[in-house]
Structure formats: structure tokens, C-alpha cells
């Protein structure tokens, strides 16, 4: 458990809300999962909402635009999902209001991944944004200035400078968000990836793009082409990344970011 915890009482400060007014830019939501789960999603035709132990609700998690991964920490085990990620990009237009919106990955936060920027006096709920997609645009405008900067994890150059010290919520968030920048000692793109959760299953017709390992291009047994056919039939375009058994995730994750960036640029979102 890290420094950042859930509030057990009292009213959340929600001090990051309405800090700025962003445009009404449309954006995609990104769901990163392992290949095994992705097969099941494609077979079932939906991304299932599953029980979240933190919020005790059936939820599906996304990040706004950005494929964000947990990066390796020394002496910690890696997980197979890091080696075989499968990325879905979902059109947020017709999903309705989200269950919650946070300016970072809540799971990583509670695990202590962002402790370098956190304060024991600020609780998870204090960082919550409004439960709307507009809140995402507002937050990007306030902290990053543009969607492109947000995608790269680059907060505004002077971000946090004008926040008074007593305003601990925004102040600590400014510290946490900088952990996602490449110049950080422990770059973790989850630290500033805006998390959006829905409390319902998301059917494949909302998915518009997918990124998967290149092994799926070949189908000696027929089952891979069947999966690609299902994606195509569902109107989902896709691209592949180069997977090698001796490449650490930190090597090919940037490739996935590049592919997603290209897609979002094509959609006019970046």
C-alpha cells in the first residue's frame, strides 16, 4: 500500500475540478489488456465490466487517448500482460456519462506507484474530476495545454507554479503528473493518464481501432485470421506491433504509442 489512500470519511475536496475550460474536442478511450483477454473480448463481442475491488463496482477502465502501462520496478515481478498487450480504442461518443474520471491511474496510485508526488493528507477522492467527458478536456487544458502534450505526458512548462502551497490537491497532482514525463527518474505514463471508468459492458461496436502483436498476421491454424476477420467485420481497423521474445516491454511499448498516436492524429484528435 502506498501513501495515497481512499478517504474513509468526510467530504472529498475535489479540488482539481473546474480548473480550466477546455474545448469540446472528441477523443478516443484506450483499453489495454492481455492477448488472452482480448481473444475473449472479441469472441464475446464486448469488453466486460468486472468487479473492481477498490470501488466495489463492476467497472471497465479506460485511459483518455493514451495507452499507458505499468513499468517495471526493480525487484518486482512483471506480468504477462506487459509482454503481450492488446490495445482497443473506443469511440466515447455514445457511451453516456462515465462512472468516474480521475487524472491518473487509480490502481497505480493506491499501489504506491506515485508516492514520490503524493501526500498523506490528500485522499484519492480529492483528485476526482467531474463524471463527464468534458471534464477530460478541461483537465487537459489546465494541466497540459493541448491533447498532443497530454499524449506525450508533457505538463505545461509552468504547471503548478501558480498553485499556492496550501492547495495540496492540485499541488501534489502537479508533482504526480511530472512522473509521467520522460525526464523523470521513474517515468510512469500512468501518472498523468486520465482514467475513465464505466459501470457497464462496452460492446465491440464502440471499438474503432486495435493494436495487436504481429504474430496475428499469420494464421497457420486458421484461428488468428478468424479473429482478424471478426475485428474487420465489427468495423474495427487494426495495426500490429513487432513482438520479439527477447525485447523487454520498454522497447516495444513506444512502438504501440507511436501506432496509437498515428491513428489519433488521423482522427484529428492530436
Amino acid at each position: 500500500m502506498g501513501i495515497l489512500k481512499r478517504r474513509k470519511g468526510g467530504t472529498p475536496a475535489r479540488s482539481l475540478q473546474s480548473r480550466a475550460s477546455g474545448g469540446d474536442q472528441k477523443f478516443h478511450l484506450v483499453h489495454v489488456t492481455g492477448v488472452g483477454f482480448a481473444r475473449e473480448i472479441i469472441r464475446a463481442g464486448q469488453i466486460d465490466a468486472t468487479l473492481c475491488k477498490v470501488f466495489e463496482e463492476d467497472l471497465v477502465y479506460f485511459f483518455a487517448m493514451r495507452p499507458a502501462y505499468k513499468l517495471r520496478e526493480a525487484q518486482k515481478r512483471q506480468e504477462i500482460i506487459d509482454y503481450f498487450p492488446f490495445v482497443f480504442l473506443v469511440d466515447a461518443d455514445h457511451l453516456g456519462p462515465p462512472f468516474h474520471v480521475y487524472p491518473f491511474d487509480t490502481g497505480g496510485a493506491l499501489d504506491g506507484a506515485f508516492d514520490d508526488g503524493a501526500s498523506p493528507g490528500v485522499y484519492l477522492e480529492d483528485y476526482a474530476l467531474e463524471e463527464t467527458l468534458q471534464a477530460v478536456n478541461n483537465h487537459i487544458e489546465w494541466a497540459f495545454g493541448s491533447a498532443a502534450n497530454y499524449y506525450d505526458g508533457k505538463v505545461r512548462r509552468d504547471f503548478g507554479a501558480d498553485i499556492p502551497d496550501w492547495d495540496t490537491g492540485p499541488k501534489t497532482f502537479a508533482k504526480i503528473a511530472r512522473l509521467a514525463a520522460e525526464g523523470s527518474n521513474r517515468p510512469d505514463r500512468r501518472a498523468s493518464a486520465i482514467e475513465i471508468a464505466y459501470d457497464r459492458h462496452i460492446t465491440l461496436d464502440h471499438v474503432k481501432f486495435a493494436v495487436l502483436p504481429e504474430q496475428f498476421l499469420e494464421s497457420p491454424m486458421g484461428n488468428n485470421s478468424e479473429m482478424l476477420d471478426k475485428l474487420t467485420d465489427a468495423g474495427i481497423s487494426w495495426d500490429t506491433y513487432q513482438w520479439r521474445p527477447n525485447r523487454p516491454p520498454s522497447d516495444f511499448h513506444p512502438e504501440i504509442n507511436k501506432i496509437v498516436r498515428k491513428y489519433l492524429q488521423g482522427q484529428g484528435e492530436l
Binding site: 488472452g36 504477462i80 503481450f84 499469420e218 494464421s219 497457420p220 485470421s225 521474445p245
Partner: protein
């Protein structure tokens, strides 16, 4: 990292797909729960060394077999796990490339990207061709844009590794190369973008070296590459010239035209009959001609065909292929055709074509199809099909696969001095998911003509290529089918095959511990003198099988053993059986037979058959020749008739006795002759009316299937008893028919007296019946009127008397009363047995009665009649019967 983590065992793998490179998993020991992955000194470089092991959480990993596990240390070369056809191959790039050499063509056809990586990592010159195939594959399947996008990514990966190697040598961070990119400003013209920091660290010289490394790769993929600064002018056009194909090359790749099949010889025609039913009816797929006496019709013309197949009968051993056929094949081969020689398997021996490569050309493009796979006990297809149908299945599959350009390329270019044998097999996908069950992945394509180990990891040098073809590649295949095609050097390994067959028989239906208690040992020498009695003495495998209950010695042969061969083996204390004779092999393995006997499949040569003996037995009626009526229908019908007509109608109805349930409720199953319906009587009209309620397909105008048998079964001499003998069951099951009963076709009718149960229940008849049962050409054992009855010698005091032109009866004037009593005792024993059994278990009652003392008395009398000692062995009895048969007139 602890010392323990400096050396770990490669114990398993995880993969997101079922083929190609997998993620190798390491552990401290075979069953370790804590798993690690290896990190290479140069990320992504398969020729790099292991730099460290990192912990990983994996729930669903696969484990290697104990014998495949290897121990690796930090500093050792990187080892890959490569999956193909469900089998994990482990090794360095060079080891992997060599280990799967026989699957190269298969991997290239179904996973062209994976084999490109394999070849590149092993630094093989094949990269040039494979790169071209990879691009073609991507273009064909996903379009040009995706293919070019993949090319950029792939080349970027290679440039990245090249930079990283230099960065590691210079002790610099590999992360510097992360932002390396390749762009394609103009189609097929690529720019390598080297970030400033990397350029500075790696030095301009390195960039130039790396460009020269990846430029050939780009060229193989149809592009040029340079650094962004010196990219070629935008209007540069790539010279793309493809040399035109020769006409022979055009023919060789033109696989969609119909194949020509030449049928040469009587046996070939028997097989081709079945082929005609499936493929022959579609002229777009197959054109079939019969070469009568080796002559070809003039209409055949001289146009080039993509595939010419010859089904060759071996009736004339001097001249397998006539000069006319040989000359046609040569012309077609020169014009680019694939020539498939198809041995029409002789029923009782192997084909000489599998061992005589000199009988046809051993030049490129000539292959012999392994049709013998059809009679292998490890046959991949429907076991209930007759041998000839199975052979036609193999031929059909081979002709279909010959339409695949990948298969054609391999067959047309795989040449060995010894000739090439083509093995084909079909795997079915599971219905619910398009995946193969794991055991099914290892299709045993083995036969008397060609054998390779079932374990694909035991790479066999005789295998020239091994391919799997999906329905996507051959439109005529069903969606749920995958075809395995292998080209092998023409080389028999009968001993290995015989051991594999015997092992499979031991494994079937036994527990692991029981299987482990068996030991098969191949003996050095076969019984002395046996070779002289065989036509294929080189195809025999003397085996010693040890099990808990004792040891057996059996010679497994490729041909049906003659009586001389059986006697020769018997003299030395050996059993002998052809590998196709699974009932005999099973009996021997399980130790069911106490006394040595001859095998079920035995070649007794040509036997005589006399008309008077043949007429003795008549097969029961074909049920399509009568109207079968249930008791309820019959009651309804008769109720509709006035009393007088009812009595007349009842006279036409006969109780039916079927072979399946001869002791069932007789009142429930009756038959009438079909011509009864043709009468314009009220009874016939009413019957039609009743039956129309239940049946729509009864017509009196359809010709009878077996009119003569119907007639003989329907009429009966009042002077004799009527018995029936159950078809195909040894020892004979004889039961007496009651008045008016009509037997169905699973029963043979024999008229006479008590001689019939006496003779046909005897061990002497059992020996004869078993020796004359058909040999592995059908899955159903059936007696033959000609061999089983027509050839069975019946000596005095038995007499066959002629009743009329078409019927005879068997009687005996001098049966001792003790023998008659023995027969009656057996009947009573059967009746008692039946009383305690369910009707469907009627055979049990007969079997039990066979072991009674009365049966011994019966056998003793019959042995005396045949002048055989009471304790005569089966082999001795058969020998005596053949002696008597030779004297039949």
C-alpha cells in the same frame, strides 16, 4: 541477482498464438512455481547472450517435456522456443533452423513472417527469397498499405538491433536507439531517421555501416533505404523487371486446370471406380482415361497438363507402365507436369512400386503416392470404409493438394536419386473451435512403404519437406480440414513401422501401468527358413513381446503369410501375422490364445469350389425384396378383412428371423413377398392402405435384389430340416428354423439333417471358415458362398444330395447315436443359456455351449471323418482341408 538466478533451466513457454516464437520461461527446477524470463545483452538480438533473469507472473504457461529442458546461465547464448504444429523446438538460431529443416517449406507457406525471422536470425541466404514471400503474403492477405507498414516496422527493428549492438559495445545505453524511425515518403523509398543523440553517440560511421546492413534487407522487401538527409530524389523509379516464365514453368504453376488420371490394370480399375464417384464426375477437376492393355485412346491429345497421375495395377510384373504410357508421362513431365505414380495396392502383398524406383523415372517432378497408408492400422480416415475406398480417398486428397502452388513447388523441385514418395493425410478441426486437438497435431503418416518417427522432434533425414495446407489454400477442402503433405525419400523401413503398429495396438484401451508392463524387442533374426516362404522377405520384423503373463514371439510381415510361412514360423515356436491383421496381433498381445494357430489373414492360395457344395448354402433374403410388417400393422390389416380372405392372406405372411436378434419376439416381425401387392385383391389394397399410413416408398415394380435367394428361402422341402448359420461368426453358430420362418441376409440357409449342426459347429469348419474370410478388404467379416461353402470339402459319411437344379441338402447316414446325443446336448445347453440372457446377448449362449464336453465329442467325430488326430492343431487341420479341397471336382 542471487547465484541461483545466474543459472536457471528453460522449463516452459508462453505464447499468444500457437506458432512461431514464444516467450521462454525459466525456473530453478522442472516443476518450479517461481518463473523467470531471460534478458538479452542486446535487446531483440537472437544472437546475443543472456544478461539476466527477471521474475514474471504467468498463470497459463506451458511446460516442456523433461528431456527437452536445458540449463542456461547468464552469459550463455540466447535460446529460443519456436512452436510448429504444436511442438516446441528449442535452440539457438542455428540449431532451430536445422532442427526444423524439413518443415521449412511448410512454415514458409503458412507462416512466412516467422520463417523470415528464423532465417535472418540464423543468417541464412534464404532470407532473400523469404523476404519476397513475406511481402507477397502480406500484400495478398492484407493489402499493400499494411505490407508496407509492416516492412517499415520490420526494418526499423533490424536497424534498432544493429544500433544497439554498437551501443552495447561502446557501453552506452540502448535506450538511445528507441526513437529511431523509418519513414516512407515515396512508395518503396525509405528514409532512416537517426535521432541526433544517437547519431552523435554511435558516430556517423556506424550509421553508414548499419545502412549497408539493412539495405540488402530493404531490397529483398522491394524497397531502397537511405538516411533521411541523403534520401533519393522523389521522382526516382525503381527498376522492377520480372523475367518471363518458360512454357514448362507456366504449366508447372498452372494448377487450376483438370488433372489427367490414367488407369492401367484391373486392380487399378477397381480402385478408380470409387474415385470416379467423387472427383471423376467433375470434368473441371479430373479427366480419367482407362489404358486398356497399356494402350491410350487417341483422344488424349498432346496438350500439357498440370498434373498427370497413373494408377498402376501390378498384374503384369514385367511391365508396370506400358511404353505408350511411359512416353506420355515423359512428354508431359518435360512440359512441366507433375507426374504422380499411384500404386494400385495388391490386396495381399505390398506394391513393388514402393521399392523399384527404377521402374519409372526418378527425375524431378515424378513422385510415388503412398497409397499403402490406406491399410495402415494408423490410418487417418474413416475406419469403416473398405480398403479400395480408402485408397481412393488418398488419391483424391493427393490430387487436391497437387493444386496447391506450395505443394507443386516442393514436389517439382525435390529430387532425390532414390525417388520421392508423397504422403498425404487429413486432420479435422474440432467442430466448435477452429483448433486442432493436441494429439491430432501429430498425424502418423506411416505405412509399409514409408515410415518416419511420430515425434516430429526426431528430425528424420528422409523427409524432404512437410507441409500443412488449410482450406484457404485449396478451395475444395472443407473448412474444418487441414491436409498434411510430406515428401520423403523412397525408403522402406518396415521394421520401424511394424514396431509402431504393435505399440499402438498395445496402447489402445490399456491403462498407462499396463502399457508400461509391455516390452517390445526387435529380434536380430527371424525363424530359419521363413524368408524362403515369403515374397517380401526383406519386409519382416521378428518381435519379442514381454508382458506380465509371459513372452510371445511374433514375426510381423508386410504380406499375407502363406500356410508354408505359418508352418515354418510354427516349427520354430513363432507366431506370424501381417501388420494389417489387427485381430490376430491383438489376440497374441493379450495372450487370449492358448494354442498356436494360424493368423486370421492367411494366404491359402487358389482354392477349388464346386457347384454342389455352393448350392448347399443360400444367403438369407435381402429385406428390400420383401414387405416387412410389424405385428400391430398386421393385426390392423387382418382385422379389416372378411374371415375367408383373412385366412388366405395369413398364408402369405411369414415370420422373419434376423441375424441381429434371431431369438427376438418372432410375432413382432413378419414379411410378405412384394408381388403380393401387385395382386388386385382386397387384401393387397387394404395392406397398401395400412402401409401407406406408415410408409411411402414401397413399390412392387422395383426389380428384386436377389430373386433366386428369395425363392430358395421361401420354399422348403418337407423332407428335411432347415438350419441357418450366422454369417461371419467363427466357430459356427447354427440354429434350426421353424416351419415357415424366413431368414434375413445375415444368416445362411442350409437344408438337411442333424449333420448340419454337427459339421458347421465343428472346429474343422471353424478353421476353414476363418481361413477363407475376406482379407482386410472390408471392415465386415462375411462368409462367401464360393469359398466358405463351395470350397469346404465334405467327406463321407456326409452326403450332399441334389433336391433340384438349384438346391442341395446335407445328410449323413452313419452318425453314431452318441454323437447325435452330443448335438442335442449342445442344443439344450444353448436353450438353457438363452433363458437366462437378454435376447440381444444370444451369441453368449452359443459360445458357452461350445466349451461343453458334448462339443469335444462332436469334434472328435468330425476329426475322425476328416482323418485327423483328435488333438490336431488348427494349422494341421487347415493343411488337411486344403489337401481335400485340391481333390474337389
Amino acid at each position: 541477482m542471487s547465484d541461483a538466478q545466474l543459472r536457471l533451466s528453460l522449463i516452459g513457454w508462453y505464447s499468444c498464438v500457437s506458432h512461431g516464437y514464444a516467450l521462454p520461461l525459466f525456473g530453478q527446477s522442472v516443476g518450479a512455481n517461481t518463473l523467470y524470463i531471460a534478458r538479452t545483452a542486446v535487446s531483440g538480438d537472437h544472437r546475443s547472450t543472456i544478461a539476466a533473469f527477471d521474475l514474471i507472473d504467468v498463470d497459463d504457461q506451458r511446460r516442456l517435456r523433461n528431456e527437452d529442458i536445458i540449463s542456461l546461465s547468464v552469459g550463455d547464448p540466447w535460446h529460443d522456443v519456436f512452436l510448429w504444429n504444436g511442438v516446441p523446438y528449442i535452440g539457438t538460431p542455428d540449431e532451430l533452423w536445422n532442427e526444423i529443416s524439413r518443415y521449412h517449406a511448410d512454415v514458409a507457406s503458412r507462416a512466412p513472417l516467422s520463417i523470415l525471422d528464423l532465417a535472418l536470425n540464423a543468417r541464412r541466404p534464404d532470407v532473400a527469397l523469404l523476404a519476397e514471400s513475406a511481402m507477397k503474403f502480406l500484400r495478398d492477405h492484407y493489402g499493400d498499405t499494411k505490407a508496407r507498414s509492416w516492412r517499415q516496422q520490420w526494418l526499423r527493428g533490424q536497424a534498432d538491433i544493429a544500433f544497439r549492438r554498437r551501443l552495447v559495445r561502446a557501453n552506452l545505453s540502448q535506450d538511445l536507439s528507441r526513437n529511431l524511425s523509418i519513414e516512407e515518403p515515396v512508395v518503396n523509398i525509405l528514409e532512416l531517421h537517426v535521432p541526433e543523440g544517437l547519431e552523435a553517440q554511435a558516430q556517423r560511421k556506424s550509421t553508414t555501416e548499419i545502412l549497408s546492413e539493412i539495405s540488402p534487407l530493404a531490397a529483398f522487401l522491394g524497397a531502397t533505404i537511405d538516411t533521411a538527409l541523403t534520401a533519393p530524389a522523389l521522382d526516382l523509379e525503381l527498376p522492377l523487371s520480372v523475367p518471363p516464365l518458360s512454357s514448362a514453368e507456366e504449366t508447372s504453376i498452372r494448377s487450376d486446370a483438370p488433372a489427367l488420371v490414367i488407369v492401367s490394370g484391373k486392380r487399378a480399375e477397381e480402385i478408380a471406380r470409387h474415385l470416379k464417384k467423387c472427383l471423376g464426375s467433375d470434368p473441371s477437376k479430373l479427366e480419367m482415361i482407362i489404358a486398356k492393355s497399356g494402350r491410350l485412346p487417341k483422344s488424349i491429345g498432346g496438350r500439357a497438363r498440370p498434373t498427370v497421375a497413373v494408377i498402376v495395377g501390378e498384374e503384369d510384373r514385367r511391365d508396370f507402365l506400358s511404353s505408350e504410357v511411359s512416353s506420355l508421362l515423359r512428354r508431359q513431365s518435360e512440359a512441366g507436369a507433375l507426374i504422380i505414380i499411384i500404386p494400385a495396392l495388391p490386396l495381399m502383398k505390398p506394391s513393388r512400386l514402393f521399392e523399384r524406383a527404377d521402374l519409372f523415372e526418378t527425375r524431378s517432378g515424378y513422385v510415388v503416392l503412398d497409397t499403402a497408408i490406406a491399410r495402415s492400422p494408423l490410418w487417418w480416415g474413416n475406419e469403416k470404409r473398405s480398403i479400395d475406398r480408402r485408397i481412393s480417398d488418398v488419391i483424391e486428397l493427393a490430387l487436391l493438394t497437387a493444386r496447391s502452388s506450395v505443394v507443386r513447388r516442393e514436389l517439382l523441385h525435390s529430387l532425390t536419386d532414390e525417388g520421392l514418395i508423397l504422403s498425404v493425410g487429413s486432420l479435422l478441426f474440432e467442430k466448435s473451435r477452429r483448433t486442432l486437438r493436441e494429439p491430432a497435431l501429430r498425424l502418423p503418416l506411416v505405412s509399409e512403404a514409408s515410415w518416419v518417427p511420430a515425434d516430429p522432434k526426431l528430425a528424420d533425414k528422409t523427409v524432404k519437406f512437410s507441409l500443412r495446407i488449410n482450406s484457404d489454400d485449396i478451395p475444395d477442402l472443407t473448412k474444418s480440414e487441414q491436409v498434411v503433405v510430406e515428401g520423403r525419400r523412397l525408403e522402406k523401413r518396415f521394421s520401424d513401422f511394424a514396431v509402431a503398429v504393435t505399440t499402438s495396438l498395445i496402447s489402445r484401451g490399456r491403462s498407462r501401468s499396463t502399457i508400461d508392463s509391455y516390452q517390445i524387442e526387435e529380434m536380430r533374426a527371424a525363424p530359419a527358413g521363413l524368408a524362403k516362404t515369403l515374397q517380401f522377405p526383406e519386409d519382416l520384423s521378428p518381435l519379442r513381446i514381454r508382458r506380465d503373463g509371459g513372452t510371445i514371439k511374433v514375426v510381423v510381415t508386410s504380406e499375407t503369410p502363406s500356410l508354408d510361412a505359418v508352418k515354418s514360423a510354427d516349427r520354430e515356436g513363432w507366431d506370424i501375422a501381417r501388420y494389417t491383421d489387427t485381430p490376430t496381433l491383438r489376440r497374441l498381445i493379450s495372450g487370449e490364445t492358448e494354442q498356436r494357430t494360424f493368423p486370421d489373414e492367411i494366404d491359402i492360395g487358389k482354392i477349388r469350389s464346386t457347384e454342389v457344395n455352393r448350392l448347399l448354402a443360400t444367403r438369407g433374403i435381402d429385406l428390400r425384396d420383401v414387405i416387412r410388417i410389424s405385428f400391430d400393422d398386421m393385426s390392423e390389416w387382418l382385422d379389416r378383412l372378411p374371415d375367408d380372405e383373412r385366412d388366405r392372406a395369413v398364408a402369405h405372411v411369414r415370420p422373419l428371423r434376423t441375424g441381429a436378434r434371431p431369438y427376438g419376439d418372432e410375432s413382432n416381425d413378419h414379411v410378405l413377398r412384394r408381388d403380393f401387392l401387385a395382386q388386385r385383391s382386397r387384401a393387397a389394397t387394404e395392406l397398401l392402405d395400412v402401409l401407406q399410413l406408415r410408409s411411402h416408398a414401397i413399390s412392387a415394380s422395383v426389380p428384386l435384389k436377389r430373386a433366386a435367394d428369395l425363392e430358395k428361402c421361401w420354399t422348403r422341402s418337407p423332407d428335411f430340416q432347415r438350419f441357418v448359420l450366422a454369417d461371419g461368426i467363427v466357430p459356427g453358430i447354427v440354429l434350426e428354423l421353424q416351419a415357415g420362418e424366413i431368414p434375413s441376409q445375415e444368416l445362411f440357409v442350409i437344408d438337411g439333417d442333424v449333420s448340419i449342426p454337427l459339421l458347421y459347429r465343428s472346429r474343422v469348419f471353424a478353421v476353414w471358415a476363418r481361413a477363407t474370410l475376406p482379407k482386410a478388404s472390408s471392415w465386415m467379416a462375411r462368409f462367401s458362398v464360393t469359398s466358405t461353402f463351395g470350397g469346404f470339402p465334405i467327406p463321407k459319411p456326409f452326403r450332399i444330395i441334389r433336391l433340384d437344379e438349384n438346391r442341395t441338402a446335407l445328410i449323413c447316414d452313419e452318425i453314431p447315436s452318441s454323437v447325435v446325443e452330443a448335438v442335442q446336448k449342445i442344443d439344450r445347453s444353448i436353450d438353457r443359456g438363452l433363458a437366462g440372457l437378454a435376447p440381444e446377448n444370444w451369441r453368449e449362449a452359443h459360445r458357452a455351449a461350445n466349451s461343453s464336453s458334448a462339443r469335444s465329442a462332436l469334434d472328435a467325430f468330425i476329426c475322425e471323418v476328416y482323418r485327423l488326430p483328435e488333438e490336431a492343431s488348427d494349422i494341421h487341420i487347415l493343411e488337411r482341408l486344403l489337401e481335400l479341397n485340391a481333390k474337389l471336382n
